[in-house]
Amino acid sequence: MELGGTEIIVECLKQEKIKVIFGIPGAAIMPLYDTFGKYEPLPFKNILTRHEQGAVHAADGYARATGEVGVCVVTSGPGATNLVTGLANAHMDSVPLVVFTGQVPTALVGNDAFQEVDITGITLPITKHNYMVRKVGDLASIIKEAFYIARTGRPGPVLIDIPKDIQLAKGNFNYPEKINRKGYNPSYRGHIKQIKSAAMKIMEAKKPVIISGGGVINANAAPELMKIASKTNIPVVNTFMGLGSVPTNHFLFLGMLGMYGRYTANQLVSNADLIIALGTRFDDRITGNLNQFCPQADIIHIDIDPAEIGKNISIKIPIVGDLKNILQQLNNFLGGKEHNLWLQEIQEIRAKDPISREDNDPLLHSRFIMKALNELFKGEAIIVTDVGQHQMWAAHYARVNYPRHFISSGGLGTMGFGLPAAIGTKIGCPHKTVICISGDGGFQMNIQELATAIYNRLSIIVILMNNGYLGMVRQLQELFYDKRYVSTLLAGNPDFVKIVEAYGGVGFRVDKQEDFLPILEKADRKNQFVLIDCHIPAEENIFPLVKPDSSINQMIGVD
């Protein structure tokens, strides 16, 4: 069947069962947008964002919340470069995206034409793979390959750059059934001998701890993880990316690990004799000083990406493959365990954990806000965060019952991620309550997406933790730079309630503890876009924390 290039793209998206795309048109992608207009009906929703960064974060949020591939479509030049942060963000957190960028016509490529940029060159290190389409005949097979690469193995973003003349050319449409790339064969099955020796190690261990990372969520392996943890009574700590892989109110769950981790989790890992690390890359925010990271423990590391094995720390038993498969197999070799002594020791550690302590602070502070959210939503809502102090408060206090219910920018730490990611999340999960927890700094980095959210009638509740500062940086200035608050005071902040109202949404301002829960309940009943501007203490700090380069069991702010 002969079709135009742009029709081929739409047909491919149809074959991939894509439900929504996010983007903004521009000169070099106009033929594709024009074809969207001609399709009756268009087989997917087409969401216009207000900035390309908003589009890519929305696609990212959609992908994290649904487990499907996020798609975004933008123009050449500035449209394409505006994706860069979002692509790096998705790449760091292993999020499957397929991103289409328009390009100047083939004849002009390399001529510094208007809105020309070498986007495949620019995004080389921040995509899993990228393509420039040079023949219309290659279009379908490239798109097929791109989706396959994005969602298989360790997921990641794939970019396809399509010159305008290729979009306008005619070619045969034939969607390939299979792809055949000699250089791409992710391994899914773990080595059985390794799995057996891991099982033996686990049965012998006296003080084992499971570190559950983002890979558990990507592999949909949370049920398998829970089976093993419950059977063997092994406590579980999360990396930031692993939040949600274990219900946070489970008795074996002991919090987040790392620089801003929980005291209990950090102590546990430091005292363990065996670490079972699942789908984690031992990022520096997790390990602190590498030489002092779990000195007494042997480490079993299971990951789909062989390059992560031994990258930062040496591993006793590496297993490469799909976590779901491997945990199923591993479970067959495991017997029941009590670990009474170890669990008792953990209770003693837990008693010293500042987060478990009673909190009588009467001000409207972040801890109170998080607890109120838990009270109302009971861990059933999807929480999307921006980046900063509020993100760490959310990570510590949010009750999360399921995987894909805590969505945040982990590896890259991208301020401005929250609102657009919440948009993608709400579109992907329309029947779920979506709470966007943001700060007054990060929120303003993609504030224009209020239009996208409100125009599309997305009933997101934004909890704005407003302290008038770039709070995380201010805290670091307080602790490590002699309180010189340079460029962290956000003087000139707008009235956020008025801003939301101007876009057609609903805004509330809260200053007192007692007002928060009633307004949250009201917001929940509204069924429309609501922002709650919470004025929290300006110099509230996130504690405890580990000084950069310190061992993770030496935390500031414990006593």
């Binding site: 495949t120 080389l124 290190p125 899993k128 000699k182 250089g183 791409y184 390059a307």
Partner: protein, 165 residues
């Protein structure tokens, strides 16, 4: 320590940049890189010579394996390797005795004179690192005008250890 990395890649645009980028990002200086078609249509072989930290190199090899366009990567141990490099060198010749001295060196090293002018000779020679280095050192006193090198290429000694698709 010096390493010879053999890589099989799909012959696609941008593959050189992808491969080279992984080395530069981790602060590795590529000593030489050579690429050419292999025995299989659509597939090229690369030989990369680098030296640097072993652990970092191990990580680079793993990252190379992750590239979609890369089919196989191997760090070939020095004892299993046959290495060659082709050099074109233009040397200054100011007298007849010099000319014959250079021709003698060319014969000893099984090199070849490929172009002669009144004041220069252009010589082609190939060999392993030691031979090429030795030859160039001997030419140095005459005055080398220009050196062009292909970068080293390598093949395993035994067909059993060959890098295949």
């Amino acid at each position: 320590m010096k390493h010879t990395i053999a890589i099989l890649v799909e012959d696609l645009p941008g593959v050189m940049a992808r491969v080279a980028g992984l080395f530069t990002r981790r602060g590795f200086n590529i000593e030489s890189i050579a690429v050419g078609h292999s025995e299989i249509p659509g597939i090229s072989r690369m030989t990369i010579i680098v030296s640097g930290d072993e652990k970092v190199l191990e990580q680079i090899i793993k990252q190379l394996n992750k590239l979609i366009d890369v089919i196989r990567v191997r760090d070939i141990p020095a004892e299993n390797i046959i290495e060659r490099e082709l050099v074109l060198v233009r040397v200054h010749v100011d007298s007849l005795p010099v000319r014959s001295e250079i021709i003698q060196l060319v014969e000893i090293f099984k090199a070849k004179v490929v172009f002669v002018e009144r004041n220069t000779m252009t010589i082609e020679m190939s060999g392993d690192e030691e031979k090429v280095g030795g030859f160039l050192n001997l030419l140095k006193p005459f005055g080398i005008r220009e050196i062009v090198r292909t970068g080293r290429i390598a093949i395993t000694r035994s067909s059993k250890n060959g890098l295949k698709v």
